[in-house]
Structures are given as structure tokens and as C-alpha cells.
Amino acid sequence: MIGAPLARVDGRAKVTGAARYSYEEQPAHVAYAVIVTSTIAVGRIASIDGTEALSRRGVLAVLTHDNAPRVRQDAASPGDRKLRLLQDDRVLYDRQPVALVVAESFEVATEAAARVRVTYAAETPATTMNAPGAVTYEPPEANQNPADSARGSFDSAFAAAPVRIDQTYVTPTEFHNPMEPHATTAAWDGNRLTLYDASQGVFDRRKSIAAIFGLPESGVRVVTKFVGGGFGSKGGTNAHTALAAMAARLVGRPVKIVLTRPDMFGGHGYRPRTEQHLRIGADTSGRLLALAHDVRSQASRFENFIENSAVISRMLYAVPNQVTTHRGVRYDVATPTFMRAPGESSGSFALESAMDELAYATGVDPLALRLLNYTETDPDQHGKPFSSKSLRRCYAEGAARFGWSQRPPQVRATRTADGLLVGYGMASSTYPANRSSSAAMATVHSDGSAYVTSGACDIGTGAYTAFTQIAAEALGIDVAHVRFDLGDTLMPEAARAGGSQQTASVANAVHLAGIAVRDKLAAAAVADAASPLHGRRLDDMTFARGRIALRERPELGETYVAILQRAGVSSMSAFAEAKHDRRVKGPYSTHAFGAHFAEVHVDPDFGTVRLARMVSAFAAGRIVNSRMARSQYMGGVVWGVSMALHEEGRIDERSGRYMNANLENYLVPVNADIPEIDIVLVDEEDPHVNPLGIKGIGEIGIVGMNAAVANAVFHATEKRVRDLPIRPEKLL
């Protein structure tokens, strides 16, 4: 069952609308809140007047910093958040919440919110990394990685290297924009709070909200049944969730909030702009001698998130002499956050572009250059072996499918019949295989069905389906009779859906819980004189289709139903926890790997780039569901194209306001931009990474794809674009 391309178990609910998302919860007497956001980037609220808003029929309350209940706005986690919860008159970023209107309907709240009169004492914002007033700082860490690293002696090795690349690469501010905007429905029952929240981790959310409101964690329940995409933006706790709870308590009714699309360019985080200085020293054959990767990451004035772009350079290639640094540059913007493959996606653009530049500088084929610098062990962990690494096969299988060997070495050498310039590009991909402690509960009922739970989140990845398959295999029950449920803090605690860790973390717990309940059933049979399995050994049994049998004599056995009925119980349950301490480093370095190959066509008259073909090969341990894995990879590849060609938050440098705060002007690819994507699933067995051999696949698809496109654009045009996105004007 594991590995089968099972269709989504929640697919029907989603396409019929039966799946209920957080904003669709409709508790009795629910009220609707709309956030008023700032129109300046930094300053003070000089005056705020909710009188007109409050006078509208149906308006229940107008909250501002003058009257909002006091809460601890600096208590949220993860990510060291300091939320802006109407506690003072300071404005720290554009579109910061400055008021909240609660009303009988969404429409009334929206109209009244526009009637809240705010005047500002605006200050001059610093709106770029190089603006006067922007402050560079040394961060304590870079998104849970050491901020700096060094091995060997970079300076002398670089100075002595016969071939040197020394370039700066820029990735822009990017906003997640999941289809489902952030949304929360909050309901109090006395001092107990229930939140239906579009979240990537219900336990993280519970912890944050309990801390903000000074409640015990047991007093907060967070429910997340369906999420329309998160990509990191729903990982940290954001202001609207706390504001919904605040408003609900104040008006004594449940309250729901959904962000507008322009709000999605506000305070819930984004991928920060990076400026990455890459220096590579190599010998004339292309062998790496030295590599420095120095990152400047856009940062807010008041929190510490840093894009860990240089981390990938520490481990992807064999480089003896290396230095990497991360610095934050604070200016008057909201705080960035995790966005799909934080660090690796932006960092791979710089590293894999620089490797491509080295390939041209040395005349070595880009793929051959990567093989020349291949490392079998992790140079960032003192040569520790990888639990598994199948990157060679990703290169080989991807290149074969793509026809990389047909690539002419010259640039600007090929045109289509229509006169478009043709270019081939490739890049490597990797992402760490992470894991956190998770628990699960499995129950087998006397009708033969099973119910398994773990408080994970399905943010659209297919977690419901994957864990159903894991549970079915462990239990020995067909998937049709297994129901897996998730997304509730009343369930066993699970890892968040972030950092490509949830499947590996929760699957191992679900597996253990399934095995445990199965073994309980077997033990009951063994102990029961009326059972054909009486006195038999557990090791001799097989479990399939809801039945236990002897391996050597399959006709000897009985069903779970029979065991439970004879025992006179309606069900048997087991709880299990798969513990993992991320701080304890094991004997292996754990990563997934992949390789992208792209063909672009560039119109030389207009500078427009269109993808013609894409082949991406990945090896990520055991694949739980090949259909969803393919979709997950494809989504990453599409986003890589988007990062290469389309996405960019465009800030007005005078005001600090992102002016393209909508999906008309914040571009992502449409179907016409994406040709068929050929995903190659490279088989990989990893006996070390975790008991089930699963590596996460949520992020790796995007890593390196931006560089593969940029490298193909260079091959087509002889123009090296080092600042994304690759807009037509950069090629004209």
C-alpha cells in the first residue's frame, strides 16, 4: 500500500465543497471582523476615530490601540514573533493592523472598516537594503542554522585559484499567496478558546495563542481540517488569529476573520530579498578549490528572521576551503518568514548560477562540472556519510530523459523555426531530510474498520491520503476501511507541516501505533483458547486484509472482527510516539537530492522567456504515494519557474508600500507558461534516515529550478541575469 498512487481520500470532499476550511466554520451567532491596515510604513498613529464606523447598523465593535484589550503581543512562536495586536500607536510596516471592526456580516464589517478615520505622523521609511537608515546586523542564527561557517582557508585558496568567479546574485521579496487566504474562526466557552485556523501546525498555534492570552495550553483548542496552501506563511502565528480571539472575547460571540488578497502582502511574512555574494575559485579543470557565500537578507526592525541562503553551499559540493556568512539588513518592512525551501531556494539560485558561470569559464559541461565536484560525504559535518545519496542517478536519469547530451556547448547557437533562441540549462537540488517527535493513536473497531489520528496538518500536500496508506499497511487493513483524521490539538501531538518533515515524522508514529494495535489483537488471540492462533508466536504471523494468519499456514488464522467480537469489546486502541530530537546529530547526514533540466525559448525581439521542456529527477527515500509525490514535485518546479521569471514584490521606495499587492500585478505563471513537466522518481532505499526510510519532498522541487531556467536563458542569449525575476527588459 505504501508507494501506491492512491487517489486523494479527501478529493471528493474538496471538489464537491464538502471539505470545510477554517473560514467556513459557522458557529451559532458568529460575527465577522475586518482588519484596517496602515497605509504608511513607519510612524505613529496620530489619531484614530471609529465613530462613523461604529454608527453603521450592524457594527458590534471597533477596536483600536485606544481600547483593545491588553495582551502579550511578543509571545508567539515559532519564529520569535512580535505581533502587532493594537497595543500601541507605533506603525512598524506597511499594512500593519491598526484597527479591527466587528459586525453582523462580512459586508457591513468591510464597509465600516473603510469608515475608520486614521491619521498618521509618518516618518521617512528606509525601504531598500542600501537606504540611509538601513542597519546591517549579525544574526544569532540563520533560520535554525549557524549564521556563519568556515573550513580550510578560503582567502589564500581563492587568491591562488587559476579560475575565479566573483559575482553578486539577487532574489527579490516574494509573497506566498496561497489560494486560501489566512483565516480564523474563534469561539470562547467561558475561559476556553477554540480556534479554527488555517495553520501548518495546530500545536504551535495553541502554544502561541495560550501565551498571548495568558491561558494554559489546555484551555486552547486549535482545529485545522483543511488548508488551501501554506508554503510557510501559515507556519508562524500571525496577528489575525490573535485578533479574532480578542474580538470574540470582547463581543461575547464567535468571530471569524479572513484576510483580503492585499492583506496577504502585509504582516504574515514573505521571502526576504537577498543579495548574495558568491566567490568561487577553481582549477582549470573546474575542480573547486574555494567557495565563499556571503548573504545579505532583508529583515525587519523588530524581529530576527533571516533567509539561510548560504546553507546549501556548505554541503552540496566537495570544496576544501570555504566561508559562508549571513547578515540581516533591517529596514522599515514587515518581518519575513519561511517560504517554500527557505534558504535553499534563494541560495540555489546563487550557487547554481555561479556553478554555471564556472562551467563556461572552464569550458566544462555544466553536468560534468557537478560530477567532478561530487561529494559522497557531507563536507559541512566533517565528512559524515549521507544516510543515502542518489544524486548521481538523478543526474543520469534526468539527463537521459532530457537529452542533455544533445546540448550544443556554444551559447546562442540554436533557434526554433520561428526564430526563437533555444537554451538548455540544468541545476542540482537538495533539501535536508528533517524529522521531529510525533505521536499517533490507532483504533480497530469490531466492524473491522480502523480510525487513526495524529494532530498533523494537511496543507494540500495529501497528508490525509499518505497517512491512510501508512496506517493501512501497518494495521494490515485495506485502505478502504481505514479512516485517518488530523488537524486537532485534541489528537496526539504531531510535527508541523513545514520544513519537509511532517510525512517522515508522523508516518513513523502512525506506523508504530498501527503495529501496536495489531500486536494487541494478536496477543488477545494468542491468549484465547478459542482462537486458531492460540499459543502461536507473534513472529510467525502475517497481518493483511483485516486478518491474522500464520505465515507458513495461511489458512490458519482469524479476522480482527472475530477476535474483538469474541473478546466482547467494541474496539482496541494503541498510542505510539516516534521520538526524535533534532538537536542530537546522528551518525548520518540526511538529505534528499535532485536535478533539474530545462529548455527555454527566448524571443530576441521582446526578451520574453517561455519554458519549452522541463525534466526533474528526485531521490527522496521511500515514496509513500507516487501520484501525490509527482504533484508535489511538479508544484515545486512550477514555483521555480515562477521564481525565475515572474514573482517580485515591488516596493515603492518613497513610501515603503508594496504596490503590486494583488494577483493581477504580482505575477505567477498561468497554464500557458508551463509546458508538460516530466518528473522522474528515482528509487532510493534509505535504511538510516528513519525507520520507514522516508525523506520529505515538500520543498526540494523548487530548489535549483530558478537557476536551471536562468542557466538556460544564458545558453540561449549569452545574457547572464543575476537578479530575479528575469524580466524582458533584462534581455533586450
Partner: protein, 327 residues
């Protein structure tokens, strides 16, 4: 969004009289622009008068041979109309390159001509804008001006007209039929849209007037036309630049020419300078290049959009090559 009243007009007179009773009433056709603007509070009508029931959706060839497109004809129906496709392929192409299939199924031809700029400063009421609030200033100047005008702009407004269809309509010497409380009138399509002398006025339509139809006489010129649109992504985006071109070539000589440019000015931009270079000459790559140079001679880029000049020239050369020297 502010509350407004809603009424459905059964006749044109009904629409006029209902509007007359309001302070800031607005006609609603496809709604693909007006509803947006109401949500953004850029438009703040106190009344919305739905004109979709008026019998103005027909696309027909008149007895005199003119093509008549009713103002309420949907973009999709217009684009796919066989008579239009042969009479002026550029118009058909421009419509099919606009918006998305869903929007084209809703949006009307009259509304398309009257749609307002997509300038991000115009559409964000927290920002000063002379078009929204005359005299408040133009925030686009010195701001994110990548998509703004390179022709005919001034220090009051650098917004561009978003329509593809209107650019293609420049090729066919169309007539706009208007009806209002004061009666009926016709105006040439060319000159209907204004340059930003008074940015608050996009067109010369008068208060209370409705566009009822667009008409034009197909000719050898209009039948030999094409439309090219350049944008950041392959579909579902307004033009960075676009070119509509029509050439009548007989005996190896260009007898007549029309060139329209989109994405470059406050109005769909007819390039008489480019046309003048072409007429009477033999089609050639050099000639088309000279026409493109002449057409963009007066261009003045903003901070971030100098590229539009080259892009527009290249688009013009390609469009002219496609109609004037087909492979």
C-alpha cells in the same frame, strides 16, 4: 465598498431617467471593471443601473455592408464572430489575447472601450492620484512606473489605457454610437479617448450617455491586419506593449496603412508618423524599421520603462512584416 442601490433598466429611457434621479449613478454592463472599482472604493456610485437587459448585444452586417457591434456584445462572442474575423483579424486577435476566457464571457464591448486604467496608484485610494482626486498629484511619477506611458504623458498623469480591443479598433476608422438623455450622436472612434490634459476624464463621453454600438466599414485595409501583444507571461495579463497594424498593398506598393499602439499612452495610440513613412512605399524590412523609428520618435520613457521603446519598435516591425511581407 459603499452601499448602493441597484436597478435593472428595461429600456434606454428607463436607464436615463433612473440615472437622472441619482447623485452618482453608474451603468453596469459586464461589471468586470466597475465592480472591481467599487470594491476598491475607487468608484463610489450611490446607484448602479444594470443595462444588461437592453437589446444591444447583436453583431451584424448592415445593409450598407458595415459591421455593427452592439455595445452589450460580449468580448468572447465578438472575438469568435466569423464576419468580424474576416473583416478585421486584428480585432478578433486582440479580443482573444485579452483577459481570461471567463472574463471575456462577461465583459462587454462598450465596457471594454470605457474601462479605466490599471495604474496601481489609481487603484489604491491611499495614494494621491490626479485621476481620482484632481489636483492631488500623480504618485506614479517617480514611483513604480515600469508599466506606465512613454507617449503623450504629462506631469499630471502617466497611466496607460489597458484595452487591447481599442488599439485594434484604431485600424478600422470606427464610429461610436452614443445615446443619452439629450438624444443620439455619433463620434469617430479616433479621438474618443483623451490624453491626460484632464486626467479625471478618460474619454469624451458625456454624463448619462451610453455607448450603443460600434460600426465600421470593412475594407481591403482592415482585412489585412494583425495584432501583437507583448507581456511578462504568456496569458492573462495586460500588455507591456501591443501593436495593431493594417496594410493595404497593391502592385507591390503600400496604398494605405494604419498603426495602433497599446500599453504606451493614456489613450490607444495611433501612430500617424509611422503610417506616413509606409504609404506609397514598397514593403521591406528597412521600411518597417524606419516606420518603427518614426512611430517611437516622440517617446519619453519613465524611470523604469525605457525598454518599452525598443519593445514597441520590434513589435511594430514584426506586425508589419506579418501583414506586409507574409512568409
Amino acid at each position: 465598498m459603499r452601499p448602493f442601490s441597484y436597478a435593472r433598466a428595461r429600456t434606454e429611457q428607463d436607464a436615463f431617467s433612473t440615472l437622472a434621479q441619482t447623485a452618482r449613478g453608474a451603468y453596469l454592463a459586464g461589471g468586470t471593471n466597475l465592480i472591481d472599482l467599487i470594491k476598491l472604493e475607487v468608484a463610489k456610485p450611490d446607484a448602479v443601473i444594470d443595462i444588461n437587459a437592453l437589446p444591444l448585444a447583436a453583431i451584424e452586417t448592415t445593409p450598407s455592408g458595415e459591421l455593427r457591434i452592439g455595445a452589450l456584445a460580449r468580448m468572447s462572442d465578438t472575438a469568435d464572430h466569423p464576419a468580424l474575423r474576416s473583416a478585421a483579424p486584428a480585432i478578433s486577435q486582440a479580443l482573444n489575447l485579452s483577459a481570461s476566457a471567463q472574463l471575456r464571457n462577461m465583459a462587454t464591448i462598450g465596457g471594454n472601450v470605457l474601462q479605466r486604467t490599471r495604474c496601481v496608484y489609481f487603484r489604491d485610494i491611499s495614494q494621491p492620484c490626479n485621476k481620482r482626486r484632481p489636483g492631488s498629484g500623480c504618485s506614479a511619477i517617480g514611483g513604480d512606473d515600469r508599466k506606465m506611458a512613454i507617449l503623450g504623458a504629462n506631469d499630471r498623469c502617466i497611466a496607460v489605457h489597458p484595452s487591447d480591443f481599442a488599439v485594434a479598433m484604431l485600424l478600422v476608422d470606427a464610429t461610436i454610437h452614443l445615446r443619452g438623455p439629450a438624444g443620439e450622436r455619433t463620434v469617430p472612434f479616433l479621438g474618443f479617448h483623451r490624453l491626460p490634459d484632464d486626467p479625471s476624464r478618460d474619454t469624451n463621453i458625456q454624463p448619462g450617455e451610453l455607448i450603443t454600438a460600434l460600426t465600421f466599414m470593412p475594407s481591403a485595409l482592415t482585412r489585412s491586419s494583425t495584432y501583437i501583444k507583448v507581456r511578462d507571461r504568456a496569458s492573462y495579463e495586460f500588455a507591456l506593449v501591443s501593436v495593431a497594424a493594417a496594410l493595404e498593398v497593391t502592385g507591390g506598393t503600400i496604398r494605405d496603412a494604419r498603426i495602433g499602439l497599446g500599453g504606451v499612452a493614456h489613450a490607444p495610440w495611433r501612430s500617424r508618423e509611422a503610417e506616413a513613412v509606409l504609404i506609397g512605399k514598397v514593403p521591406s524590412r528597412d521600411l518597417f524599421t524606419a516606420a518603427a523609428e518614426a512611430g517611437l520618435q516622440a517617446a519619453v520613457p519613465q524611470r523604469l520603462n525605457r525598454f518599452k521603446i525598443r519593445m514597441a519598435k520590434n513589435a511594430m516591425i514584426r506586425a508589419l512584416t506579418s501583414v506586409g511581407m507574409p512568409a
